[in-house]
């Protein structure tokens, strides 16, 4: 950017009756959008809890207490059938769930965007190949794949689960990115960038991607939510990482130990409720964000 040029002319007043500059416009509407504020606020609270929870928890997950005790002053959310403090497990579990969610979202986003941009920009045979690849991957049931791969591995870690989720959910990122790239690449400002001698990667990164920025943002948020849910379901089925506590594992244990039958609601409800809150807050924020980015959806 010609910084000097901008500085020289920064004092010239903006033309009348024009909308405010882009960044501040989003901020203006964003802060006024109830869904975004609520969703984001709740999510941030949960993240805060994930960070400080294990610190403020008076006990560790490995401490033993009375088996199956209801919530009390000593165990804020009671204990499970094995005598572990539920609150401590919850605090740890949220953290793990966020980690896996982030890992899954990032790997899916990276793979999906690279393939999507390449296919959308180049078109032709490369596009066909990527589409073929995408379609094949979509058809393979991820659960079955996880079972098969999992049976060959002795131990599974968070990294494995996160990357696996990423590598099985990137297709719909790629499709969305490809479609947007297709429509954007025929715009005249892309032609102008070509006429300025710019290379393809530069045009994709500087001209095309920023025009999809709001869309990409929304996609990543959705990925985050769905990764967390997927991880929890895998954990619930016992296909998760072999050596950690997460919300899904908590729910699995609660199920295996017939917690509901024994009226141990403090073991069953919290993990499910918290997981629901984590994902729902994201989705609500997402809807709000969509309204902020897309002026036509705003209610005046």
């Amino acid at each position: 950017m010609s910084q000097t040029v901008l500085k020289e002319h920064a004092s010239s007043p903006a033309a009348p009756d024009t909308p405010p500059a882009h960044g501040s416009e989003f901020l203006y509407y964003g802060l006024r959008n109830k869904k975004l504020v609520f969703g984001l606020g709740l999510e941030l609270l949960l993240i805060l809890f994930a960070v400080i929870g294990p610190i403020i928890s008076p006990h560790n997950t490995t401490d033993f207490f009375k088996l199956g005790a209801p919530p009390s002053a000593q165990n804020w959310l009671g204990t499970d059938s094995l005598g572990h403090d539920v609150f401590a497990q919850l605090a740890d579990g949220i953290r793990e769930s966020y980690l896996v969610g982030a890992l899954g979202a990032i790997s899916a986003a990276v793979v999906g965007m690279v393939l999507g941009f390449t296919a959308g920009w180049r078109g032709g045979i490369i596009d066909e190949v990527v589409q073929l690849f995408t379609n094949i991957l979509v058809m393979i049931p991820a659960l079955v794949l996880l079972v098969v791969i999992g049976s060959y591995l002795n131990t599974r870690g968070i990294l494995f689960e996160g990357v696996f989720i990423g590598l099985t959910t990137w297709p719909w990122v790629a499709r969305a990115v490809r479609a947007q790239t297709f429509s954007l690449r025929s715009r005249e400002f892309v032609d102008l960038a070509k006429l300025s001698g710019k290379r393809a990667t530069s045009i994709i990164v500087r001209d095309i991607a920023p025009n999809m920025a709001s869309y990409l943002f929304l996609v990543i948020i959705l990925l985050f939510g769905s990764s967390m849910l997927l991880a929890a379901s895998y954990d619930f089925l016992g296909l998760g990482p072999t050596s950690m506590a997460s919300l899904g594992v908590m729910m699995q244990n609660a199920n295996l130990n017939s917690a509901l039958f024994y009226h141990m609601w403090w073991w069953v409800v919290p993990p499910g409720l918290v997981l629901t809150a984590m994902v729902a807050a994201l989705l609500v924020a997402n809807v709000g964000l969509d309204e902020v980015f897309n002026p036509k959806l705003r209610e005046q």
Partner: protein, 324 residues
């Protein structure tokens, strides 16, 4: 001395209409553009004029034929060669607003050029260059620098794009319908700017569907129809003494302030042959490229081959095609 030479350029598109088929956008178009010359390329929608502009700017590749610049076929350029080409040959398009990336400020179009061509030029020298270019297009730097595209008028946007081209050593400008989206009062300013640039030695390919604009500004005129040249020559001759029926039809249909159309009351309006019918040629690709057999489609009223109608010299410099 020729700047740019277009030799038998053809462009075939795979059809997107129902039923597939091919579209012949350009059929062996040939002409030369000389230094300081303005050629108006006149045609209606579907004539192929925009495609020709894109082929010359190497934004599209011709199916056959070649565009030569400085004696070299532009299709053979490497990435670096292409960059050099763009130093001399630039384009400005119809919709000024969409040439700008809306999330950046308008003067980013200058920065794009700077990054590639003037990376070693100092800040102050660069600003001087910008000021000079803006001055050449009669824009006040204070009015346009630092603004977003939506804060500028169509005329300002268009002139800024021309200024961008002037930052390079442009010798050929492809102006594709650059006037049509501007208001009447700004059109004239941009037109007069083109005239002054022409007088300074710039060669311009002025693509338009508006005959009166073409007549005002150009030295030679090419009339394009269904991807082929039907008439070509010095502007006063083509407009003053049109030979091809299509040219005559176009001239008679132009609304003028002083002359009224000859309106026949009651009864169907006589429709000229061309409008609407999109020439879609089906199937026989080999026959098309082989070039001799006429392939007619059910939809089109005109049977098309790759071979354009033959051009005859009616008078020196004034070429007219046979009826198709």
């Amino acid at each position: 001395m020729s700047e740019l030479s277009v030799h038998e350029v053809s462009k075939l598109y795979r059809g997107t209409a129902r039923g597939g088929g091919f579209t012949l956008a350009l059929r062996k178009v040939s002409f030369e553009l000389k230094q300081g010359e303005v050629i108006s390329l006149i045609g209606e929608s579907g004539s192929g004029k925009t495609t020709l502009g894109k082929v010359i700017l190497r934004l599209e590749r011709p199916t056959s034929g070649a565009v030569t610049f400085g004696g070299k076929d532009i299709a053979t350029y490497s990435q670096r060669g292409l960059r050099e080409y763009y130093r001399f040959v630039q384009g400005v398009f119809q919709d000024p607003f969409s040439s700008y990336n809306p999330i950046y400020r308008a003067d980013r179009v200058f920065d794009l050029v700077r990054d590639v061509y003037f990376a070693h030029v100092s800040g102050k020298d660069w600003n001087d260059k910008i000021d000079a270019a803006l001055h050449a297009v009669a824009l006040n730097p204070g009015d346009v620098l630092g603004k977003y595209p939506h804060q500028l008028s169509g005329g300002q946007q268009q002139r800024l794009l021309i200024a961008r081209a002037l930052l390079l050593d442009v010798r050929v400008l492809v102006a594709d319908e650059i006037i049509s989206m501007l208001d009447a009062s700004t059109r004239v300013d941009v037109l007069n700017l083109l005239v002054s640039l022409k007088r300074a030695g710039l060669a311009i390919l002025f693509i338009t569907h508006d005959l009166s604009l073409g007549n005002y500004v150009s030295d030679r005129t090419i009339i394009l129809r269904h991807g082929a040249i039907v008439e070509m020559g010095a502007t006063p001759e083509v407009f003053g003494n049109p030979q091809h029926d299509y040219t005559k039809m176009l001239l008679s249909a132009v609304p003028e302030l002083q002359k009224k159309w000859h309106h026949t009351a009651l009864g169907p309006v006589a429709m000229p042959v061309s409008p609407g019918a999109e020439p879609v040629v089906r199937r026989d690709l080999r026959a098309l490229l082989g070039g001799t057999r006429a392939v007619s489609s059910g939809k089109s009223a005109v049977a098309l081959t790759l071979e354009p109608p033959v051009l005859h010299e009616f008078e020196p410099g004034h070429l007219v095609a046979d009826a198709e």
